[in-house]
């Protein structure tokens, strides 16, 4: 024990040997505090936690520096599920004695296990929520919430008590008793627990004795019976309650309940036996239907596949026919060629001197299309060319040369090409075609044309000149 004035260690004297302060009363206070701590410790040892809390709090009111009492109070709070109060005491204790303090270990144990701390925190939050439900009258919700609380922290005495109170209010005496016994195992001396337990046991004992017929009574009867109990305390009032009318009504109602239960059981058994068979039959029916539907689906799918193939082959056939038709009626088709040839023949018969009109029709006939035409067609075509070819060639040659001299080489090339095509013996047309290509800058065609001149008309002046031009163009 140290002096409150100077901090020196006190002796058996009633004054401080260091500063001379009167410490007689102070010593008495500290001694009383120690006594209360010992009392608290004894109570805690026999799990009278409420008693221990009371003694320890008294102790700390006398001497706040009693660290042992504070640590034990924290431990007791922790044991009844009030872990925040426990932490409070341990934190204060640690501040009073920073080193060699068991509170340090307690705090570390909690802080090192955040999951556990979170569970405790959740339990407290849910308990407060349950209490709030109670104030609002939502008692069913409160019961559910309290069950959750106790699953999180089974040592939460207040939660056990509140749940028991709710059960008592709902006249679920057995459940209330169970909760109260659990609470009592944690804290044997809690007066609230003891009072509720006493009340609950009284009610249950009366039921068990058969002297007070609560079982089978309706709520109204129970409540009126409960009120009777309230006015007359204890088990001495038991003899007052038995009432023949209530008892007989109890028997009748029991019979009715038994009959109803029998009917319900009968229905349940029949459902248990018949229903599975019906379900099985229904399932088989559904399976068969599904199987048939599946088969139908397969058949339809095969049919669709076959039709798709037919459609594809039909489309191919149509494309082929279109291609064939194009040969006859297309721009260069046989039919068009036929029309052009007929037009040329008609024009020639009308006016044999109008070479340009005949040539206009013959120009529309492509030499390549002759392969797909008949022999008579080719004969007529060749005959017309023989008849008019030389003249038409001369005509195109003249117009071609005019264009050439006017340096309109594109037109010249066009006309001179036709002039040579109508008369292959027209060497001048071919030679000047080469010149037109050369002057227009089309060197490739120019050389090709000059080579053709050399080949078709060898040993001529045109061939010599053509060779000269080829040489010049190759040099360039």
């Amino acid at each position: 024990m140290i002096c409150y004035n100077c901090g020196a260690t006190l002796t058996h004297n009633d004054f401080c040997t260091n500063c001379g302060a009167d410490v007689a009363r102070y010593k008495k206070i500290v001694s009383t505090a120690n006594l209360l701590y010992n009392e608290g410790l004894d109570k805690a040892k026999v799990r009278d936690l409420s008693g221990a809390i009371e003694s320890l709090r008294q102790c700390l009111k006398l001497d706040k520096t009693n660290v042992d009492a504070r640590n034990l109070l924290g431990l007791t709070y922790f044991e009844i599920g009030e872990y925040v109060l426990a932490l409070n005491e341990w934190v204060i204790s640690k501040n009073l004695r920073p080193s060699k303090n068991i509170a340090d270990d307690y705090i570390s144990l909690l802080q090192d296990n955040p999951n556990k701390l979170d569970v405790y925190s959740q339990a407290v939050k849910k308990y407060n929520q349950a209490l709030s439900y109670c104030y609002q009258g939502s008692l069913d919700l409160a019961v559910i919430q309290l069950k959750k609380v106790l699953s999180l922290n089974p040592k939460y005495v207040q939660a056990h008590q509140l749940l028991a109170l709710l059960y008592i209010n709902d006249e679920q005496w057995e459940d209330a008793k169970k909760e109260l016994i659990k609470a009592q195992k944690i804290d044997v001396g809690n007066t609230i627990t003891l009072r509720y337990l006493n009340e609950t046991r009284n009610i249950l004992d009366m039921d068990d004795d058969g002297t007070l017929p609560y079982k089978g009574l309706d709520t109204k009867s129970r409540k009126s019976a409960g009120e009777g109990l309230k006015s007359k305390k204890g088990r001495e009032t038991v003899d007052v309650y038995p009432s023949p009318s209530v008892r007989s009504s109890s028997k009748t109602s029991t019979t009715i309940i038994n009959v109803a239960l029998g009917i319900l059981i009968g229905i349940a058994v029949s459902y248990l036996l018949i229903l599975p068979a019906r379900i099985s039959a229904a399932r088989e029916g559904v399976d068969e239907s599904l199987k048939a539907a599946g088969e139908q689906l397969d058949a339809k799918t095969a049919q669709i596949s076959s039709l798709e193939q037919d459609l594809k082959s039909s489309e191919n056939q149509i494309d082929k026919l279109k291609e064939e038709l194009e040969v006859y009626i297309g721009e260069n088709g046989a039919m068009t060629a036929m029309d052009s040839l007929l037009g040329a023949v008609n024009s020639y018969l009308d006016n044999p001197d109008d070479m340009q009109a005949v040539a206009g029709y013959l120009d529309q006939i492509d030499e390549e299309t002759l392969e797909g035409t008949s022999e008579s067609f080719v004969t007529v075509y060749r005959l017309l060319l023989t008849k008019i070819g030389t003249d038409v060639s001369a005509s195109y040659y003249e117009s071609g040369m005019r264009s050439y001299q006017a340096e309109m080489f594109e037109d010249a090339i066009k006309d001179l090409t036709k002039a040579y095509s109508y008369d292959n013996s027209n060497g001048d047309a071919l030679y000047n075609l080469g010149n037109a290509y050369r002057k227009s800058g089309d060197i490739v065609n120019a050389i090709d044309t000059y080579n053709k001149v050399i080949e078709e008309f060898p040993d001529t002046e045109m061939a010599t000149r053509s060779q000269q031009y080829i040489n010049e163009l190759n040099v360039d």
């Binding site: 409150y4 004035n5 302060a21 009167d22 009363r25 102070y26 206070i29 500290v30 700390l60 009111k61 006398l62 001497d63 706040k64 520096t65 599920g81 009030e82 925040v84 109060l85 932490l87 409070n88 934190v91 204060i92 701390l117 925190s121 407290v124 939050k125 308990y127 407060n128 209490l131 709030s132 109670c134 104030y135 207040q158 008590q161 509140l162 109170l165 008592i168 209010n169 609230i192 009072r195 509720y196 009340e199 409960g226 009120e227 109990l229 309230k230």
Partner: protein
């Protein structure tokens, strides 16, 4: 007989962890020993005043 409403009033919300800090700071830690020391000091001061007068 237990009266539910009356009994319910005896239950109070538990402290939550968020409230722990405030609870520690606001806790009145004055004990009887503090009161005694205060009384002794007051007594000494009053005696000193009397002696001065």
């Amino acid at each position: 007989m237990i009266n539910f409403e009356d009994e319910l009033k005896k239950f109070h919300p538990s402290l939550e962890i968020e409230e722990a800090e405030d609870a520690i700071y606001n806790q009145d830690l004055t004990d009887i020993a503090d009161l005694l020391v205060g009384l002794v000091k007051e007594d000494k001061e009053s005696q000193a005043d009397k002696e001065e007068k």
